[in-house]
C-alpha cells in the first residue's frame, strides 16, 4: 500500500515551546489512520503542522510525493487536503448553504455530492438556510465534516470529531465516517474516544510528549489490554 502522507523528523515550535520533537509517520492511501494519545501529546499540533497552520521548524512533510512543509495553508488545501478542526470552526454568521458554497472552492455545488452528504447528514438539508450559529453541537460537527468532503479530497485531517457530543450523536457520526471511508477516503483522525477509534481505525499511531511511541494495526491495539494501559494509561474496556 502506498503512503499518501509522510512526515520525517518533523519538529514544531510554538513560541518557546518545543511541541513536536521529531515526528515520523506515514498515512497509507485509502486507509484510516488513528492518532491517539493523552491530552497535550501533540496530536492537534501534528494536524495543524501538516495543514501549514503552524510552520514545521525542521523535518519533511510530503503529500503524494510532493514536499509541502514550506507551503502556505491555502496551497496545501488546494492540493486536496480537507481539514476539520477540533473547534469545528463553522462560520456561524453564514447559513449552512453558504458554508458549503464557500467550501466548494472550484465551482458550484455538485448536486450528486450534496445528495450523498444529505444521505447521512439529513439535518443539513433541513437546516439548509439556517444560520450555522444556530445549529446544535452535533449539527455543527456534521457541517464541518460536510465542508471538508463537499469536493473530492486526497486526504482528510479530522481532529476529535466526537468531542463533547452526546453518545447517540457519536454513534451516528461514526456511521457517517464509515460511509466516507467506504468511498475510499484517506483519513488521519485524531480521537480520544477509544470506541470510535476501534470502529474506524485501520492503523494506529500513539503519541506522547511530541513523539510517536507506537505504530501498528488498530485491531492489534484494541485486543492488547496491557499495551493500551502502557501507552494510553487506560484500556478500551475500562473506557467503555
Amino acid at each position: 500500500m502506498t503512503d499518501l502522507l509522510k512526515l520525517s523528523g518533523v519538529h514544531t515550535h510554538i513560541g518557546r515551546y518545543h511541541i513536536l520533537q521529531g515526528i515520523d509517520l506515514s498515512v497509507a492511501q485509502g486507509q484510516t489512520t488513528m492518532l491517539l494519545g493523552r491530552n497535550g501529546a501533540g496530536k492537534t499540533t501534528t494536524l495543524r503542522t501538516i495543514m501549514g497552520l503552524w510552520q514545521a521548524s525542521r523535518g519533511e512533510i510530503s503529500l503524494a510525493g510532493e514536499r509541502i512543509e514550506s507551503r502556505t495553508t491555502p496551497d496545501i488545501a488546494r492540493l486536496g487536503v480537507g481539514y476539520v478542526p477540533e473547534s469545528m470552526a463553522v462560520f456561524s454568521d453564514l447559513t449552512v448553504k453558504e458554508n458549503l458554497v464557500l467550501a466548494a472552492r472550484d465551482g458550484p455545488l455538485d448536486d450528486s455530492q450534496l445528495e450523498w452528504i444529505f444521505g447521512f447528514f439529513p439535518a443539513l438539508r433541513r437546516f439548509w438556510l439556517s444560520r450555522a450559529g444556530s445549529l446544535s453541537g452535533g449539527q455543527k460537527q456534521m457541517l464541518s465534516i460536510a465542508r471538508a468532503i463537499i469536493e473530492p479530497r486526497k486526504l482528510l485531517l479530522i481532529d476529535e470529531p466526537t468531542k463533547g457530543l452526546a453518545p447517540a450523536i457519536v454513534v451516528a457520526l461514526i456511521e457517517c465516517l464509515k460511509e466516507i471511508k467506504r468511498k475510499g477516503a484517506t483519513i488521519l483522525l485524531v480521537e480520544q474516544n477509544f470506541f470510535a477509534a476501534r470502529e474506524l481505525g485501520d492503523n494506529v499511531l500513539v503519541m506522547d510528549n511530541g513523539t510517536i511511541v507506537h505504530r501498528g494495526d488498530m485491531a492489534a491495539l484494541a485486543s492488547d489490554v496491557p499495551l493500551q494501559e502502557r501507552l494510553l494509561g487506560l484500556s478500551l474496556e475500562t473506557h467503555q
Partner: protein, 336 residues
Amino acid sequence: MTELAATDPLPKPKRDIAPILLPVALAVVTIPLIGSPSTWLTLTAASLAMGMMIFIMASGLTLVFGLMDVLNFGHGAFIAVGAYVATLVLAPFAASVQADSLWVNLAVLAPAALLSMAVSGALGLIVERVLILPVYGQHLKQILMTTGGLIVAEQTLYALWGPQIIPTPLPTSLRGSFIIGDVAIAKYRVLATLIGLAVFIAIQLVLNRTKLGLLIRAGVENREMVEALGYRIRRLFLGVFMTGSALAGLGGVMWALYREQVHASMSDDLTVLIFIVVIIGGLGSIGGCFIGAILVAMVANYGGFLVPKLALVSNILLMVAILMWRPRGLYAVTSR
C-alpha cells in the same frame, strides 16, 4: 440518531432589531426637547447627512479591523489625501463648479471623487505593503507604524500645499435648500445622504449576494479556516484595505465640500469620531457601523443644539453607554 434525523425545525434566528430602534427612539425622544418641528427636521436631516459621510469613512476601517485585525490609526490620512486630490481637479474647473447646471457641476464632481478614490486606494496599497505587512498580528507596532504614517502624510500635505486652509466651495446647484413648508433641508445634505445610502446598499449587496462577500464575512469570523479551505486571504486583505482606503478618500471629498474647506489636519477630529463609530458598531460589522454613524451624528447635532457645553464629550458618553449595554458593540461579529 436523534440529532441526525432531527425532525423539529430550528427556531428562526431572531432578528436583533434593538440597535436599529435606537436612532429612531433617539429621534422621537428629542422632538419635545427641541420643541420646534422644523428645527427638529433640519437637525435630523443634518444628522443623517453627517452620519452617512462618517459611515462612508468608517466602513472601510471596520472591515479592516474585523477581517485583518489591524489597528490602522492612519486611516485619516486617506481622508485628507482624498480631499486634497479633489481640490486638484476642482481648481482648474472653477467655472464648471460655479455653473448653474447640475449636470455640469456633476461632470466635474464625479471625476474628482473617482480620482480621489483611486489615489486613496493606491495609497492604501502602499501603506498595506510597506507599513502593515511587516507588523501583522502585532498591535502595538501597528499603532506606532500607522500613527507614524499619518504624521508623515500630514506633513507631506503641509509641504506640498502649505499650512493655509484651501476653500472648496460647493457647486452652485448644490447650494441652498429645499424648502418644504417652514422646513429647510440643505440640498448637499440630501445628496450626501443618498450617496451614503447607495454605498451602504452596495456594500450589503456585495457582502450578502456574492462569493467575495461570503469570503469577507467568513474571514471576519475565522481567517484561519478560510485559509484552510484554500483561499489566499492575504489577497482578500489587500483588496479590502484598498477599498476601505478608497471609501475614506470619497468620504474626504464629501466632507471637504460639506465644510467647504480642506486642510492637512482635517482628519484629526474625524478620526476620533470614526473610531467611536467602529467600536460602538461592533468591530467588523457594516450594519453596526451604519447605525453607529447615524447615532454619533444625531448625538452631535441634537446634543450641540440642546446642551452645547456637552458637545465635546457627548459622543464619548454615547460610547460608554452603548458599551455598558453591549460590551462588544451593537452587532458583535468577530470572536476577537
